[in-house]
Amino acid sequence: MEFLSLLSPELFLFVVAGVIVGIVFGAIPGMTATMAVAVCLPLTYSLDMVNGLGLLLGLYVGGISGGLVPAILLNIPGTPSSITTTFDGYPMTQNGEGEKALKTGITSSLFGGLLSVFILFFFAPVLADFAIKFSYIEKFLIILFALSVIASLSKKSMLVGIFSGVLGIWFSLIGTYDISVGGNGETRLMFDFMEYHLESGFALLPVLIGLFGLGTILEEAEKGVKDEVQSVNGAALSAATAKTGKFSFSVFKGQYVNLFRSGMIGTFVGMLPGVGGSAASVLSYTQQKNFSKDPSKLGTGAPEGVIASESANNGLTGGALVPLLSLGIPGDSTTAVLIGAFTLQGLQVGPLFIGEHLDIWHSMVVALLSANIAMFLIMFFAIKYIARVITVPKYLLYPIIIMMCVVGAYAINYGIMFDVWTLLLFGVLGFVGSKLGIEIAPFIIGFILGKSAEVYFVKSLESFGSFTIFFTKSPIAVFLWVLILVSIWFSIYSSKKGSQA
């Protein structure tokens, strides 16, 4: 129980602070959990690993949970993953059951979150143990698998998803082919005059902060930075918090299966690399519709819809950490930002992480558990005040966010102005790219994994001298190819099904 010495009261303070800020970010439409983590990263520069992670995990849990507030009260999802919460949550508010809907959502969130922490705790070490045996070849195939999964579940088309992922890899290759990983120290993919700044390529954090912070704000600026919340009259808010629809835990009677199934769906969708929250909650909502005794009630204000959606999107949190901590592959865009936090502290996430840093791993689990509990207590008892948070105007918030983005980008390498320009570059690229149809999630995963993919691929070929090695190395390699084919088949199948419907 060595890790107990790491559990200071400070850790819990950071977790609670993270949860509160996260809820605020989640509750304000146009601001997401990913943004919360990205913007608050600079705060962790001077914290130690455990406290820093506590803060970030708190932000993550709070950010995902906060999204239910505007979803239920205003029919605007606060984060992408609370889209399905609006289907039943808002009708409940209109029926005068706002408080009931909120508290049902909050309790389901707690359940989904806790369930996913347990799965994380038992599953990640097993997967990591298994992955330790992987050679470069299996590692390369895992990355290939990750990219094929992201692509096959991408919103528009598989090809565009793959294209975005490969484009991310291309951006990650800019810079030096580093000698420390067996490269020849040559720079590539740039003009000579760029060598001074781009010697080590684009830094991960400014890229992330640019895409998720500045990029999002540019999108909002194009729409004119309207405060939806302001335009909705205050009557909706007060009606929502009125004591008409009383909440009691009996709402969950007969919903335990739903609660459990949705949490599991959320967790397992979270494990798939690069697949974000909306996929999890949409899937569990449709499942609930299939299994419900009275499917026609869904969409008209049925608590079971809120339960399915919220249990799933909090299940995501623990799930997304599984591939991150066992394979080094982020499960969604928020965990992609968390990779940045690990690198910052000089820690490599991958199969060896849990074994080598058992104390950090245990404190992470404790932090996640306490974040979920803190989220529940804060939201359950202070929901009226949180409901007011969503009225904080954006013209005050956005400048603060850009300022924090700049601090984060500038400080990451101890004061390099080029990183700030990287932030701007990728903010604009993210804005323009998503207009052209590039998908940000595969892009980011490609960018994060690109350099490792290169090393695994080239070194495997250098030592074996043949492409066939990727198929014949081991049974695991064959198994991974089967998984890759399944994910491609799945996407072709579902797109065909989609075009028929």
Binding site: S46, L189, L218, A221, E222, G224, V225, P399, V407, V458
Partner: protein, 147 residues
Amino acid sequence: MGDSFSKLLSVNIDFEQSHMFFPKIIMWLLFLLFLLIVVLYGRKFLEDLKAGRKSIRFFEENFDKIRLFGTIGVVILYFVLMDYVGVLFPNTGLGFLLVSIPFMMSLSFLYVHDLNKKKTIIIFLNSIIAPTAAWYILGNLFNITLP
């Protein structure tokens, strides 16, 4: 035949050129994917375009030119000035503080709708308090490097 097949799949990477081996594959892949996308979706897209179901309009309809380009302009100005002023007061983070205040004010005034006296006061207070707090907490308490 099996022999020639395995020859086809064997590779020999020249170390001197190995930095371009993977990037070349990636660029070919990007090119092929792009072609595939054009071939598979291009025709339908053009048809949709002709039929008026889709448009090549880049920006949203009635997009907010002033706020969008204003944001980019103000941000660029912010970055340039921060670097410039930061050099005048090295290692104090004052460049950050002094430039952030006007930056936040101009961005807030750019974004706000229906400006009134109360909003003006709040914007002024916010633009002064937020950077000062960030400068003090991050720069002085947490010792984070600021421009």
